[in-house]
Symmetry: C2
Subunit: 350 residues, 2 copies
DNA sequence: TGTAAAAATGTAAACGTTTTCAGTATAGTC
DNA sequence: GACTATACTGAAAACGTTTACATTTTTACA
């Protein structure tokens, strides 16, 4: 019941009456093979259903041609990362690349494990969404000569290719939208504050406040982790305050969903009693009641660009590092209430 | 800038003054090595930070010891599959297994591609959620000697290990719940009808109707694909009917979300104007407004059991095939309306 | 037709392991 | 001290590729 051995180069060579070198050449077509021979070999390959063994290929070529890349993702439950995966996969599929996903579930130990595993699988490149505390490891990767692209956030003080969005502007737009809808007391549920992305969004929040001459109340900017439960708990905290905010700006997908749970469980009406804008749009944001106003960042696009960058770097390791910053888009739906100062209508009857 | 060569067995052997065979033995500890030698080698391993190269290991061992399994998933956007991935990963992580995920996005061509890729990566086992039209390929896999576990649904006429849930009962419970809440005209949005799972759920729907002596109206059992857009469109169709259903039973996650979009966009009140129960619970079902009543199947548990089964089969290829059917659980929240016939209260003030 | 150059093909090493088999050191026994 | 059994270790093959180098065949041209 052992796995059936699959067809090897040698078998093809024997049947075609040539050496394995020739068969290899036919397949990789780097060197010329006589037309007649080539045809004969091709035929045998088809007959036998030969497929190169990727393991042997990788063992042989230490270069950068292993056509395997490692992907390190902090939390696959977050649809944003799922979009990134899809963006990467699509490109990879088209180029016969394979991708190994390491979902480390926000666990340092596990991130280390995956890095080691992927290294020993001879990936020739990494796409990483860095997680606090792991900067050193990612830096090492790059120093060891792996092609590395960071997504979602860069590494402070380290030169690398980065693909991210303009978090500052995205947050600014969201908060500005709320302010224009008449809110002056906007609670902000931030993500993990060790993540630069989080802080950029906080900065955007503050800038919008400053722009409209509003005073910032640090008591309604709260953060813990970047997960669902934090959203639930922190929303409860904010809404339980003596002077609760009239609107919430949540810093990611999961926090938004968590906050929503709290809002609904308290029977609060959106947007009449609390307005909400979330960072990260979701495929099914329209399915929420009311449909959610959100800052869209295209994970799919981020993934696609990341793997293209990787591809480029493998081809040309000396290319200067680039940092690509994508624009976000505010998708206005119905969770923000009526505008008070004009020019920015968002409401329609539910 | 090529990737730094990592430490090999040979380097360790040289530095420790032994042969590579001995080092290998120290690592795998199948055979005895003299205590003194072992210690010396261990020390060098630590000093040099040696890590076995998994690629070379896999090339060498054609057995079933490659510690790599392939996972074939139809649609990573569906949170149900994400849960499965997490269940598998957790176990894999604990046992030093690696998992390669092939998300084929409901595309036959791509599923084939991934099967081939995973084979040529020398995985020694597959976990597959079979997709219509691909039964042959999966069957082949098993015949070729790979350990294969099917999740979510089995393969008609093929003996394999299967982990799934009791779809019939799950659907029955959902529909019964709706009936007891007073609904007699329940629209059913099914998934792809080529998927056995879909048909089992339809059967559960019909059984509940029969159990309560209700006549089935086939016009309100509609299905196309198992995706979001189908949910949107089919809900629109049902709710646009001359005598529209008063309740909807949706056959999966994505269909539910799609239907919800339609319901909200039409401004219909849940549960007063349309009730809804979905198959598949979601982490954030509480965040919907109103919180969704749903049939929960634990993807995490399915994944965990699947990989355990795989582990067993690798250890003992002769073990008889088993089919594990997990129970579902109806999670009653607020999307179904008031009960009319007593004994089954679900409502609380929103 | 003979020869040199070009084209096509073959040989063998290498990638980093595991494992069989053979060999050597150690201990035990008389 | 010699001999055997046992414990340990090393040499080498094998896994399926790619590729540098060597060799053979073909072509071109006199």
């Amino acid at each position: 019941m052992a796995v059936q051995k699959s067809v090897s180069l040698k078998e093809v060579a024997d049947k075609a009456g040539v050496s394995i070198a020739t068969v290899s050449r036919v397949i990789n077509s780097k060197t010329v093979v006589k037309g007649e021979t080539e045809l004969r070999v091709q035929k045998v390959i088809r007959q036998l259903g030969y497929r190169p063994n990727r393991v042997a290929q990788r063992l042989r070529t230490t270069k950068g041609a292993s056509k395997l890349i490692g992907l390190l993702i902090p939390d696959i439950r977050n649809p944003f990362y799922v979009d990134i995966i899809r963006g990467i996969e699509q490109y990879a599929y088209a180029r016969n690349f394979a991708v190994i996903i390491g979902n480390f579930s926000q666990d340092e130990e596990r991130q280390k494990f995956y890095i080691e595993t992927l290294k020993s699988e001879s990936v020739d490149a990494f796409i990483v969404a860095p997680f606090p505390g792991m900067n050193e490891y990612v830096k090492e990767l790059s120093e060891e000569g792996y092609a590395v692209v960071c997504i979602d956030r860069g590494l402070p003080g380290v030169d690398l290719d980065v693909v991210k969005v303009d978090n500052f502007q995205g947050a600014f737009d969201a908060v500005e939208h709320l302010i224009r809808a008449g809110h002056t007391r906007i609670g902000h549920i931030t993500g993990n504050r060790q993540i630069p992305t989080t802080m950029e969004r906080v900065a955007g929040y503050e800038a919008a406040y400053a722009r409209y001459g509003l005073a910032i109340d640090r008591d309604i900017i709260v953060g813990r982790d970047s997960d669902y439960q934090s959203g639930v708990d922190l929303a409860a905290h904010l809404l339980g305050l003596p002077g609760p905010p009239t609107a919430l700006f949540t810093s990611n997908n999961l926090l938004t969903l968590g906050a929503l749970e709290t809002i609904h469980s308290r029977g609060l009406k959106i947007p009449e009693q609390v307005a909400i804008v979330g960072f990260d749009d979701m495929d099914w944001a329209m399915s929420l009641n009311p449909p959610l106003t959100a800052v869209r960042q295209s994970g799919f696009e981020i993934g696609r660009i990341a793997i293209e960058l990787l591809h480029q770097r493998i081809a040309d390791p000396a290319r200067p590092f680039v940092s690509i910053v994508l624009k976000t888009e505010l998708i206005v739906r119905n969770s923000c209430g009526y505008m008070l100062r004009g020019g920015y209508e968002v409401h329609k009857d539910s």
